[in-house]
Symmetry: C2
DNA sequence: GTGAAAGCGCTAACAA
DNA sequence: TTGTTAGCGCTTTCAC
């Protein structure tokens, strides 16, 4: 592969336009304080030479990088089984692009990578980080906090920063509210034996959905709650156990769409009709799953792409409003929670 | 958000270790030509100060960035409906990490973004690019070629660089061979009316799979080939039409798993048994789809993660072997094609 | 083997 | 408003 040819520098543009480097720099960076005829001449020179600023040189002096790291800490391959991150990435990417920032993707494969990521973030290569911290026991958030990089979390982290310290900034869906809506919908259908198959309870989203279920069901029969893991296989297994335990169950709120898929499969296998015998609701509204399953799944939708967009906006906004001295206080509410909506299809 | 504290520089490490900046630099970059006792002293100083090299300063002089752009050009949201890219990203990320390279993700949203991406690549911000060019009429590959950045494509591009020019470097799956294996398997089952529902024919993968089908079927009844678009909905529609046209069809090779999903749904709806009445094979082996559908799908697997890893390796390898002068010729075979394997489940 | 010094391309005071 | 100048932190000849 041939080496890239050396690119024109500010110097070259300045020479061609017959001005100083400083003037070219000003024009390139917005053009304030340069009189029009001159500015125009510079722009033409830039155009003719195909000049593109050298980001490394710029960063060296400004100490800004116009780059944001997206850290996805997920040892499990499972994450890639649903388009969740892809959608979030899309939202993030759109927002970053709009602000001329680059997206540096950091995928971690277990604990071994944590040190690497921490070092990278601490190394001041990026202006901020967007972190998806999925498990309660994950040491990464702590490491990142120590690295001192402005950070926005995707999903509510499990620690709350006691005392006077400002809590972590995060964006989440209203998991609890969505769960309540789902269960209320089932109750509104006249169902009385409403079960919940949870997600992996080491993730706040699963805990919050369970809490939402309990908000509505109160002290319902505890045998109606089964712990699972957000997978279709897990959903199947839990559903089998549920039917053995409580053959009279008439509705299931599954922690996510994949789990609901497993539930549906077991129901079909046992010859139970959906929703006549058992109504089923999922969570996420991952389209290829929810829309394509049989029957189409009633589920709680979260706007995943918007979550991503918002995370980026929060990070970028927080950074630009605070001009370095840190006078401006953190936003009052460190967490932003996006609403969820119930999507009615055929399964409930 | 508070500004990051200023990090220790080479200078600081040098002072602490009682050596010159040059010596520290040597140690940090591999330590060749520095005597052991000194090197050790430097390493300790680095450790104590928590020194991390400033990448911008380094790039400014070396003109290397240790960063690779991954360009995913996909206007359709559909892409995110399957975990294909996520897996590929994982493979890429692993390989880049192993070589201490960063991954800069460039997502494009239609043509408007092409110029931005081209400018970025031409701007010399990264050492190379990994490009997923999905549609035959995509102008992006051309722009990228002009930008003069070392590039490896994911999936065979549609142009072949006539004349003496070296063809584009790419990594692909053996779509044609996989298709042949699928169709042969169906034939081996004694099926004689084997249909093919194609993918979007503006993508080489769809064209290659169709070619594979034809390799085996020769001049079969042309009514057995239906053009579709890699989606479940498209698969449904095509299958309905197929059943109307050729009620005697006894096997379907679908261009991918999602299409197969649609096929299965129509079959069930019409009361036809799989595989007894109609055998079905998909392509991709996207697990949550293929494994979870009913009946579990026989399909052609491609090792997606390995494709990603290989793309990165090709890019990095090509770069390091050629020491800047470009003496070394391009590899003889510009394209690497990974094998596919038939995974037998219940549907065929 | 080690150090001194010259920049890489850019921005940001400061002068004019 | 425009130009001059001094670095940003690092690598890399080139002397020693």
């Amino acid at each position: 592969m041939t080496e890239a040819v050396s690119r024109p520098t500010l110097e070259a543009v300045a020479a061609r336009a017959g001005v100083s480097r400083a003037t070219v720099s000003r024009v390139v960076n917005g053009g304030d304080g340069v009189r029009e005829p001159l500015a125009e001449r510079v722009r033409r020179a830039v155009e003719e030479l195909g000049y593109v600023p050298n980001q490394a040189a710029r960063s060296l002096v400004t100490k800004r990088h116009d780059a944001v790291a997206v850290v996805i800490a997920e040892p499990e391959a499972r994450v890639f089984a649903d388009p969740f991150f892809a959608l979030q990435l899309r939202g993030i990417s759109k927002e970053l692009t709009a602000h001329d920032n680059q997206l540096v993707l950091l995928l971690t494969e277990g604990r071994a990578d944590h040190a690497r990521v921490a070092r990278y973030l601490a190394g001041g290569h990026v202006d901020g980080a967007l972190v998806f911290s999925l498990h309660l026991d994950d040491p990464l958030p702590g490491l990142i906090r120590k690295a001192g990089v402005p950070t926005v979390f995707g999903g509510r982290p499990d620690w709350s920063d006691g005392d006077g310290a400002p809590g972590p900034v995060y964006v989440d869906s209203d998991n609890r509210g969505g769960a309540r809506a789902a269960v209320r919908h089932l109750a509104g259908l006249g169902r009385t034996r409403i079960a919940h198959i949870t997600g992996a309870l080491d993730q706040t989203s699963a805990v919050d959905r369970l809490d939402g279920y309990r908000d509505v069901m109160g002290d319902a029969d505890p045998r109606l709650v089964l712990e699972s893991d957000f997978t279709a296989g897990g959903g199947e297994q839990a559903m089998r156990e549920l039917l053995d335990r409580c053959p009279d169950v008439d509705a299931v709120f599954a922690a996510n769409d994949l789990t609901a898929l497993g539930v549906l499969r077991v129901l079909r296998e046992r010859g139970l009709r959906v929703p006549e015998d058992v109504a089923v609701i999922g969570f996420d509204d991952v389209l290829p799953v929810a829309e394509e399953c049989d029957p189409p799944l009633t589920t709680v939708r979260q706007d995943i792409e918007e979550m991503g967009r918002l995370m980026a906006r929060l990070l970028l906004g927080g950074r630009t409003e605070d001009g370095g001295a840190g006078e401006r206080p953190e936003p009052a509410a460190p967490g932003v929670v996006l609403p969820t909506t119930l999507i009615r299809r055929a399964s409930a």
